[in-house]
């Protein structure tokens, strides 16, 4: 048997060891995701990449591709589920798109559009989360954290600093900064760290940038994330040679 599987009826090749997500992305196919990033180990926490493999739900970012698999991705059933997951994320934090400087560059927002989410549907939690502005160059606005732990992985695995961690359980989980004071200024975090640019939403922000790039000229303004995500991956592979 050749190394390929069917994604919504289309053949997708893979190399052994690849996950469904990796193989699909390499083949230019978009599977919605939030906590997955091609440069980091899969995390499997957001469940947005949920697909159906042989009729059973599985997260594409953690499931190995196997020859002959039949994977459903773009079905109305799965999109509706993803929409609900997104709505839960929106009400759990304080997401305020019209005045958020990440608007147009935000993976959460772009994915919500992609999935056809037009209202948050659930009651808002309005959690009380403080902003950490202690660092001279970078602002942390925890209101928008979706706990994907990309920053945790980037800081630990790439920067070797361990600046971020998740703390608490269940509905009480939240992102913390690893310093005695809990303030970013009291860590060795630097604006040049990989963790400074990995956040898919508007938590980790370079200060004083704000709206320098007009709305309308941002990543997901011209193209939907399904297209943009695939292009970004292709570009980064080109760069990597």
């Amino acid at each position: 048997m050749t190394n390929s599987f069917l994604l919504d009826g289309e053949e997708v090749p893979f190399t052994p060891g690849q996950t469904v997500m990796q193989a699909a992305s390499a083949a230019g196919k978009y599977i919605p995701h939030l906590c997955w990033h091609p440069d980091f180990a899969a995390h499997g926490s957001c469940k947005l990449c949920t697909v159906k493999i042989g009729g059973r739900f599985a997260t594409a970012c953690t499931t190995r591709a196997a020859a002959g698999q039949e994977v459903e991705n773009g079905t109305e059933e799965l999109i509706a589920k993803r929409r609900t997951l997104l709505q839960l994320l929106f009400v759990e934090g304080n997401h305020f798109c019209p005045s958020c400087e990440k608007s147009g560059n935000c993976v959460l927002q772009a994915t919500a559009y992609e999935m056809g989410m037009l209202s948050p549907h659930f009651d808002h939690f309005y959690p009380d989360r403080a902003v950490d502005a202690s660092h001279p160059d970078v602002l942390l606005d925890f209101n928008r954290c979706i706990m994907c732990e990309l920053c945790v992985r980037a800081s630990r695995d790439v920067d070797g600093k361990n600046v971020f961690a998740l703390s608490g359980r269940g509905a009480k989980s939240h992102l913390i900064v690893n310093s005695e004071s809990g303030r970013l200024a009291d860590t060795d975090f630097a604006a040049t760290d990989r963790a400074a640019e990995v956040c898919p939403v508007g938590v980790i922000l370079r200060k004083r940038v704000g709206f320098a790039v007009p709305i309308g000229q941002r990543d997901y303004d011209a193209k939907p994330i399904s297209q943009k995500a695939v292009e970004k991956l292709a570009d980064s592979e080109k760069e990597a040679g």
């Binding site: 929409r83 037009l118 403080a130 902003v131 922000l205 709206f211």
Partner: protein, 488 residues
């Protein structure tokens, strides 16, 4: 899993972004209480504006560069005014004492686009039905739809004038609502050649139609001077911003005030010092504060802001057609200031003409295609930004910590500046039109017309676009309720 009404059927660009937005619009309303004395004469009239409060707190703790975008949520009609007033305050914070010519002109263009669209909306959509059909005419006719049936040409011009203003905003702010064009220290875009050409195409038509609009309101005054000169008329001081040379400038300048007789009270005041000039009085019966000139005290020191104040406060208007019309208004008033409530509409249309002429001039200036957009300088901790918003002087005042978060915000919106004046206008109208112990439809309508001359819908305070829920309560000398009417 899918929920009922989960997916809206409309998908416009505007809707998309705003849709994912947890903050529901807080609507307030105007409440009028009229107290009679023992002879059933009007003893006391109070307009309570139920304001959406707490916005200042909302801004506190936010990074300063977010503020110009965030504050646009304050007003459904003139978000751009808040966008620019906040930007101007933050220019001071980032040390941008002089913007680049491109930034300054783009902001002006945005602002005059805003004036044009808001004034067109205010006059044609919201007020012209009252003025053209009479305050007591059938409710069903008193809308822009009614105007479109009887006076299709007027309605059409009104709608297209507003639309043009919105197009100017879209090209300068990036979007028609919640634009991001103005940033601390400048702007984030200039006009492309194509955008400039597109706007220029209709610029002259807008001037012509604005001239027609001035003529309409002027004729209404001339046809019925008894009504127009006396309706809700009361003397007061007035305040507004003027250019340093005394000419009308709605974007930037110095503060000037005149008394009821037109004598200068103060002039050339740097608005950074507004808090020494103005005191905001809190009254137990109203949520909205009552500002007054500190030196004159609360009894004497209250004032009007907005078109009628501005057009009479300045020495001249720097565009030819609007200046001509200003002189006509001054001549009509006969050498002393006009204090008629309906005079606001006349002055408003003169300003709309000024805006149209200014837009044309700016579009002819090559700087608006420039690429030098932002400047910064020495960082400061405090800044005040003032703009002449469509309905009057608007103050934004911020303090920002070294960590870039806002620590203090104080806003005086146009409606608040006019709080006492609007109360006086409603008082005059109640005196003139309250007859007996009942609140008639006619009284309700007249009160509404008076408030609308200042503020079409109390929008800064209530976030309601084009709507003005109004409640009028009549109390006798013992405080017993005689009547109550509600209108939404």
């Amino acid at each position: 899993m899918s929920f009922e009404l989960e997916t809206a059927t409309v998908a416009s660009d505007n809707l998309r972004r705003v849709a994912i937005d947890p903050v529901s619009r807080v609507e307030g309303h105007g409440k009028v209480t009229i107290l009679l004395d023992e002879h059933n004469k009007v003893h006391q009239v109070r307009l309570h504006i139920v304001e959406f409060r707490g916005f200042e707190r909302f801004i506190q703790g936010r990074p300063y560069w977010e503020v110009p975008v965030m504050v646009q949520r304050l007003c459904g009609i003139c978000p751009v005014s808040h966008h620019l007033a906040a930007s101007k305050a933050l220019d001071v914070i980032v040390g941008a004492d002089r913007l680049t010519p491109t930034a300054e002109k783009m902001r002006r263009l945005m602002h005059y686009g805003q004036i044009l669209q808001s004034h067109a909306l205010h006059f044609f959509h919201l007020s012209s039905p009252d003025l053209l059909f009479g305050f007591d005419s059938e409710v069903s006719r008193r809308s822009i739809v009614g105007v479109a049936e009887k006076y299709p040409d007027i309605a059409r011009k009104g709608i297209l004038l507003r639309k043009y203003g919105q197009e100017v905003i879209r090209h300068t702010a990036g979007k028609r609502v919640h634009g991001t064009g103005s940033v601390p220290g400048g702007v984030n875009k200039s006009l492309s050649g194509a955008e400039r050409a597109e706007l220029l195409k209709d610029a002259y038509q807008m001037i012509a139609w604005s001239r027609d609009a001035v003529r309409i309101i002027k004729e209404l005054h001339e046809q019925n001077p008894a009504l127009y000169d006396s309706f809700g008329t009361f003397p007061s001081n007035f305040m507004g911003m003027v250019a340093p040379d005394g000419s009308l400038d709605l974007y930037h300048g110095v503060l000037r005030a005149k008394d009821a007789a037109g004598r200068i009270l103060f002039d050339h005041v740097d608005y950074q010092t507004y808090d020494t000039l103005i005191t905001e009085e809190v009254k137990p019966w109203s949520y909205m504060k009552f500002p007054y000139f500190t030196s004159m005290g609360p009894e004497q020191g209250w004032y009007k802001v907005g078109p009628l104040a501005r057009v009479q406060n300045c020495d001249s208007i720097p565009t030819p057609f609007a200046e001509h019309e200003r002189r006509e208004l001054v001549a009509y008033a006969g050498g002393k200031p006009m204090h008629a409530t309906l005079g606001f509409h006349w002055a408003r249309m003169i300003e709309m003409l000024f805006a149209a002429e200014t837009i044309k001039a700016l579009l002819h200036d090559d700087d608006i295609e420039g690429t030098d957009l932002v400047v910064t300088g020495e960082r400061r901790r405090e800044g005040v930004g003032v703009i002449e918003a469509p309905r009057g002087t608007l103050f934004h005042h911020y303090q920002v910590g070294d960590d870039d978060l806002v620590t203090m915000a104080n806003l005086i919106v146009s409606t608040t500046n006019n709080n006492q004046a609007m109360n006086s206008a409603v008082r005059e109208v109640a005196k003139q039109y309250l007859d007996g112990k009942e609140i008639t439809e006619g009284l309700l309508n007249h009160i509404e017309v008076a408030i609308r001359a200042y503020d079409p819908c109390l929008s800064c305070a209530t976030h309601a676009l084009g709507k003005m829920p109004l409640e009028v309560t009549l109390l006798d000398a013992e405080g017993q309720m005689l009547d109550r009417k509600y209108k939404s």
